[in-house]
Symmetry: C2
Subunit: 399 residues, 2 copies
C-alpha cells in the first residue's frame, strides 16, 4: 500500500461529508465531471415519477395550484439562495444560463442609465477568457443597447473601468483553468466606477461561498446542472439584488413576470420583486427534478463543502506530482487557495486521447479544446480515495 493510499484512507475517515455520497446514484467509476453534469441525487427518480404520474397524469391542470407548479421558480430560487449567500426573494429559476445572461446584461445597461448623472454609459466589459456563450450573448446585448464590448482579462478589469462603463460581466470561476476571481474586490471596483456588476456563477455555486448579498453584487446568473446536480439542461437562475428589483427592466417581459398574469391585460405591468425575472411558462419536469436535487443541501454548509473541495484539489495536485511523469502535464489551476475553484485543469499536448484512455479505465473527467484535461471535484460525492485513484490512473495513462 502506497503512502498516498494510506493518506487517502485517513482523509476519507476524517471526512465529515463522506456520508453524503450515499445520497447519490454512483457506481465504481471515479466521476470527476460533476462540473459539467452533476451526478443523479437518489431522491430525484421517485420525485420525477410522482410529478409525471400523479401531478401531471392525474391532477393535470389543477397542479398549477395544488402541486405548487406556478410558484416553483421563486420557491426553488429561495432554496438556492443560501448556497450563494442571498437572502430570500432575490432569485428566480428558469430559462437557460444564456437567456439569463441576456436579461441581466440588458437589464444592467438600463439600470445604469437610469441614474441622473449617468452620462454616456456605452461600454460592456467582459472577461475575454469567458465561457463563450457569455461573450456571444454580451455582444448581442451590446448591439441592442447601443454599447460596445470590451473584452479584457479579469485582472485588467479595474484598469479599463471608466465613466463610460455600463456593465461588467465576469465569471466567478474560469471554466477552463478553474481560477477563482476576486468577486468582492472586482465588484467594489465596478461600483467605484458607477457601473453594474453581473456575475456568472456556473462554476462556483455549490462549490464555494459566493456571498452575493455580503459583497453587494448587483445581478448574477448561474446554471444548476453542475455542482447543484439539477440534471441535464436543468433551468438556470437569475439574482437581482433587492434594492434594484423595482428598477429592473427585463428585455424578456413574458406574462409570467406580469403583476397580474391571469388578468390577461394588454398592457405590461411588471410584478414586484424577483418575479420580474420570470418570462414564460416554467418547465415543470426539469424544475421539480432540480427541487428534489437541492434537498441534499439541507444539512450541509457551503463552508464545509469549500473546505473539502480545497482538500480534494490539494490532494489531487499532490498525487499528480507523485504519479505523473515530470513535464508530462502542466497545471493551469492556481496554487493559492483564494484563487482556486473546485476543479483542476492540466494542460497536456494529447489531452483528447488521454481523456479517452482515462474514461476507458473508469476515471471520467473532460477534455476542453485544444489541450486541457479538466477534473471537477464535487465534495458531496467525491472522496479522497477517488482522487488518489484518478491521479494513479492518469499516471499510468501517461506512462
Amino acid at each position: 500500500m502506497s503512502e498516498l493510499t494510506v493518506k487517502a484512507e485517513k482523509l476519507d475517515a476524517a471526512d465529515e461529508l463522506a456520508g453524503k455520497r450515499a445520497e447519490f446514484v454512483l457506481d465504481e467509476v471515479v466521476y470527476l465531471d460533476g462540473n459539467s453534469l452533476g451526478a443523479l441525487p437518489a431522491a430525484v427518480p421517485d420525485r420525477v415519477a410522482d410529478v409525471v404520474r400523479r401531478q401531471w397524469g392525474s391532477l393535470r391542470i389543477r397542479s398549477w395550484d395544488e402541486s405548487g407548479w406556478w410558484t416553483a421558480p421563486e420557491r426553488i430560487g429561495d432554496h438556492i439562495a443560501p448556497l450563494v449567500g442571498a437572502a430570500p426573494g432575490q432569485i428566480v429559476v428558469g430559462d437557460s444560463t444564456s437567456v439569463n445572461v441576456f436579461k441581466a446584461l440588458v437589464g444592467a445597461v438600463r439600470l445604469v442609465r437610469l441614474a441622473a448623472d449617468a452620462g454616456v454609459r456605452d461600454e460592456i466589459v467582459i472577461d475575454a477568457t469567458t465561457f463563450p456563450t457569455d461573450g456571444y450573448i454580451a455582444e448581442s446585448a451590446a448591439r441592442l443597447t447601443g454599447c460596445t464590448l470590451r473584452p479584457v482579462t479579469p485582472a485588467e478589469v479595474p484598469g479599463v473601468l471608466s465613466g463610460r462603463t455600463a456593465a461588467v460581466l465576469l465569471n466567478h470561476v474560469d471554466y477552463r483553468t478553474g481560477r477563482l476571481h476576486d468577486l468582492p474586490a472586482l465588484t467594489a471596483a465596478v461600483h467605484d466606477a458607477g457601473a453594474i456588476s453581473v456575475w456568472d456563477l456556473c462554476h462556483s455555486a455549490g462549490a464555494l461561498p459566493v456571498g452575493l448579498d455580503a459583497h453587494g453584487v448587483d445581478l448574477a446568473v448561474g446554471c444548476t446542472y453542475k455542482y447543484l446536480n439539477g440534471g441535464p439542461g436543468s433551468p438556470a437562475y437569475l439574482y437581482v439584488r433587492r434594492d434594484l428589483q423595482d428598477r429592473f427592466d427585463s428585455p424578456l417581459p413574458g406574462w409570467n413576470s406580469h403583476a397580474e398574469p391571469f388578468g390577461m391585460r394588454p398592457d405590461y405591468e411588471p410584478a414586484p420583486g424577483a418575479l420580474r425575472g420570470r418570462v414564460g411558462t416554467p418547465d415543470i419536469l426539469s424544475m421539480l427534478a432540480l427541487e428534489a436535487a437541492l434537498e441534499v443541501w439541507d444539512d450541509v454548509t457551503v463552508e464545509a463543502v469549500r473546505a473539502k473541495s480545497l482538500a480534494l484539489t490539494d490532494f489531487f495536485l499532490e498525487c499528480v506530482q507523485e504519479y505523473v511523469p515530470g513535464g508530462r502535464v502542466e497545471s493551469l489551476t492556481p496554487v493559492a487557495h483564494e484563487e482556486r475553484g473546485s476543479q483542476v485543469a492540466l494542460r497536456c499536448a494529447d489531452a483528447g486521447d488521454v481523456m479517452k484512455r482515462l474514461i476507458e479505465r473508469g476515471v471520467v473527467g473532460d477534455f476542453r479544446h485544444p489541450d486541457v484535461l479538466r477534473f471537477g471535484f464535487t465534495p458531496l460525492y467525491v472522496g479522497f480515495g477517488d482522487v488518489e485513484r484518478a491521479a494513479r490512473v492518469l499516471g499510468e495513462a501517461l506512462g
Copy 2:
C-alpha cells in the same frame, strides 16, 4: 336514453381515432382543458424514468452523445414538422414560447431590413386580441429595434400594412374565442407589403393543418404542452423557413447555435440551418418527455384530427343548444368551420363560479377572465360521449 346520447354513441362507434384514447392516462373526468395542458401520454412515464435513471444516473455525461441529448432540439423539431406542414430541418425545440417570440420578432425586423430596397421599416403589427405575452414581448422587441407597435384586430391587418411594416405577429387561433384566422391570406398580404410574417401556433398545432411551407410562412413559434401533450411547461419551438435561415440573425446567439459549439471560440459564427435558433443547453428531461409524447402522432394524420375536431365542436354546440337554458350563454366561437379552431368559448356572466361547479361534477374546462368558459377538444382522447356529458352537466350547472 336521449336522442343526443344515442347520437354520441353512433359517432363514437364510427370514430376512427377512438382507439387513440388508450394511449393516454385518463380517468372518469371529461377533460376539456387539453388546450391548456394536454393529458399524459402513456408512453411518457417509462421514458422519463429511463432518461433519469439510466441516461443521467448511469451514463451521465456520456449521454450527450450516446443518448442523443445534444441533437434533441432539431430531432424533435423534425418530429413536430409534419404536424405543422413543414419539411425537415426548419424547426428547433427549446426555450419558452415567449423567448421564441422574441427571437422571431427581432429576427424578422433584421431580416426585412436586409433587403436593398427596405426603406424605413419601423412598425411591428400585432394582434390586439393576442395572448398577452406575445404583445409584451413584441413591445420589447420593438423597443430594442427602434420600431413602434401597432395593435389591430387580425381583420384590420391588411388595411394597416404599408412600406413601414417590418413584421406582423399573429395568432393562428385566438386563445379566448377559438377563432381560426386565415393564415394563407394574411401571410400573402404581409408578403405583398414586403414584410415578414410571424405566426404563433400555440392553439392550432396538433389540432388542425397549418401548412407552414405551403403558405410560405416566414417564421413561426408554438408551445408543445397543449394539443401536443408535451407536459407542463415543455419546451416551445421555432420555425425558420429554409431560404431565410442563412440570414436569420438571432438576438439570443447562445453557444448551442454556434457553427462549432465545442470549439469554444471567442467569436460567434452561427450554425447553418435551423440550428441557429438554438440558444443554451437544452432542457433534457422536459425535451425527452415531449419526444415520447409525440409518438402518439406516428399513425395519425392531422387531417383526420381536424375532421374529428370539427365534428366534436359541432356536436358540442348542438348539445349546448339542447341542454343549456336559452340566453344563459353566448358562443364566441365562429359557426363557420373555416373560422373555428378546436375549442368552444362560451360567454357567461358568472363564468368563474360556473367553471368551479363543472369541475366539481367532473367536467374540466377553464375560465378566462372576465367572463369566458373555455372548452378545448383534443381529438386524440376526447370522444362524443364526453361531449354530450359535458354539455349536459353544463346545462345542469346553469339550470
